[in-house]
């Protein structure tokens, strides 16, 4: 950063408003795709783990390993196979959501009180009805806690995908680093944080709307 230059150049912000908006859109798109795909995969794996409890260990073990791979290394490893592409970015992003989502879905369903399950079965619910009408609705609060963590984590990780040509707000961070340009750096970092906070707040609102019984009085 050149001496004498202001921390934020407002004129740059104004002249780049369109590009910033576009990158915000890309950031959200990468996040929504990752969390949605992650949720679908996690849901399937959770059902397997709930049906066959001895598979729960291996499933969390595998997704746990995925979770520990440094994101930079994971993207670098994938590039030879899937190139500098959206797919590469999403494979990485999705794999980081799995552990959190699976753990929360399984814990949420297992946390349903046994007497509720017993009453449901005793009144003639089928196993499928118990899952969809009793266990999953009651697990929603815990599942949503997982979705919130997964979403915040993903929004942070999306910035790293700038290195493979995606990145959303991460684009501005790399730009700022390359050019010693503080305005872009701040736009990228602050933008990512704001997105995470907004996304989290919206998820809280959605959860409250979906689980009216948790706050009835």
């Amino acid at each position: 950063m050149t001496a004498g230059e202001p921390l934020i150049r407002w004129d740059w912000l104004a002249s780049h408003a369109g590009e910033i908006g576009q990158r915000v859109g890309q950031h959200l798109e990468l996040t929504v795709i990752a969390v949605t795909a992650g949720l679908v995969i996690s849901f399937g794996l959770s059902l397997v783990a709930l049906r066959i409890p001895r598979l729960y260990g291996p499933i969390t073990w595998t997704t746990g390993i995925l979770y520990t791979i440094p994101s930079l290394a994971l993207f670098a490893l994938l590039v030879p196979y899937t190139g500098l592409s959206l797919l590469t970015a999403e494979i990485g992003l999705v794999s980081y959501t799995l552990l959190i989502l699976i753990r929360n879905i399984v814990a949420g369903v297992r946390g349903v009180p046994e007497e509720v399950r017993d009453a449901a079965r005793g009144m003639g619910y089928t196993d499928r009805q118990i899952l969809w009408r009793v266990e999953l609705p009651l697990a929603l609060a815990v599942i949503f806690a997982g979705i919130r963590v997964a979403t915040i984590t993903t929004i942070g990780l999306v910035t790293v995908t700038a290195l493979i040509g995606e990145g959303g707000m991460g684009y501005f961070i790399t730009l700022g680093i390359q050019l010693f340009f503080s305005t872009a750096l701040i736009v990228g970092a602050l933008g990512s944080v704001l997105l995470a906070m907004l996304a989290d707040a919206s998820l809280v609102l959605v959860q409250r709307a979906l689980t009216p019984w948790t706050h009835a009085r």
């Binding site: 009180p113 509720v116 017993d118 009453a119 005793g122 003639g124 009216p212 009835a216």
Partner: protein
């Protein structure tokens, strides 16, 4: 006994439940051993015994939450083991100690559970829910849309019973449904339940570990020990003629007094009326009072006799020695 009479009137809808040589084994352990009994239509049959005696296992075999190892269970002559378990359960009411209300569904939705599973039309479900909420002393408009978390323990128990009765089942299974509430609420719930059961004429199989509850609610009591049926009899007979020492100990050394609680002053032999002026301090008893309460009043006023009056009508005199004779006779009345 007046209770049997009421049961007979209401017997139109209940089904007969018969267990034949029902056995449940877990590996080497025999949880229930060749259990046979018949619960008559429209009556309450109580299964009682120490923990681990197999009473809950027996109950849960009737709606196939547990599959018997061998034996037959018949409801109105049909073997439940040949039915689809899900269909079967929808025809049998089910209420448990922890209630198990669905926390995410309103009181109205909870009560509507089985009618909805059976595909009743919406209008009929709504009418039935409101009817049941009124029957358990709730104002439907005020309570229908609340969630279980907003109710007291006693209210939740009531909703649990209403939910079990919702689809007008011919048979209800109840596993200690009133055990989790305090004694005052429990007594009120028991009385309400008796009225409901008599009015709806449902056959009930009821598990408890509380002998007083068994005597109060049961038309028949099955005492179990280590998976076996030790005695199956109406409460009065159980108290008068315990089959063995185990049953005698289980019903308690005060079984004579318990038996008096099943008999009313009106049902006892009275001596002819005596001029009240010659009965200084004698308490006034009503025919509807239990002999146990009458005895308590006579002892409290240190009188040998009580005057039995039905309103203005002076029916006669009940003597302490007559109550004593009843206790000694050990004859079921």
């Amino acid at each position: 006994m007046p209770r049997c009479h009421a049961g007979a009137m209401a017997a139109r809808r209940g089904a007969t439940v018969e267990l034949r040589e029902v056995t449940k084994r877990y590996g080497e352990t025999v949880a229930v051993d060749r259990l046979s009994f018949t619960a008559p239509a429209g009556r309450i049959c109580v299964l009682i015994g120490p923990s681990g005696c197999g009473k809950t296992t027996s109950l849960r075999m009737v709606n196939r939450l547990i599959e018997p190892t061998s034996g037959e269970i018949l409801i109105d002559g049909h073997n439940v083991l040949q039915e689809d378990p899900t269909e079967l359960r929808r025809r049998i009411g089910y209420a448990i100690q922890q209630v198990g209300l669905f926390p995410h569904r309103t009181i109205g939705q909870n009560v509507a559970t089985v009618p909805e599973l059976l595909g009743w039309p919406a209008a009929r479900i709504r009418a039935r829910v409101d009817e049941l909420l009124s029957l358990i002393g709730f104002e439907p408009a005020r309570m229908r849309d609340r969630y279980p978390a907003q109710l007291s323990g006693g209210e939740r128990q009531r909703v649990g019973v209403a939910r079990a009765m919702a689809a007008e089942p011919p048979v209800m299974l109840m596993d200690e449904p009133f055990a989790a509430v305090d004694p005052i609420v429990r007594e009120r719930l028991q009385n309400e339940f008796l009225q409901l059961q008599r009015a709806q004429g449902i056959t009930v199989i009821f598990v408890t570990h509380d002998i007083d509850e068994a005597i109060k609610l049961g038309d028949r009591i099955a005492i179990m020990r280590a998976g076996r049926l030790v005695q199956y009899a109406p409460p009065a007979e159980l108290l008068a003629h315990p089959a063995d020492d185990f049953v005698a100990r289980f019903v308690g050394s005060d079984r004579g007094l318990k038996r008096l609680a099943l008999l009313t002053v009106g049902g006892a032999e009275l001596d002819p009326p005596v001029d009240p002026s010659r009965l200084g301090g004698a308490p006034v008893l009503s025919p509807a009072m239990t002999l146990r309460d009458a005895l308590s009043q006579m002892l409290a006023s240190e009188a040998q006799v009580g005057m039995v009056r039905d309103g203005d009508n002076y029916l006669g005199v009940l003597t302490l020695s007559h109550i004593g004779r009843l206790l000694r006779s050990e004859q079921p009345t």
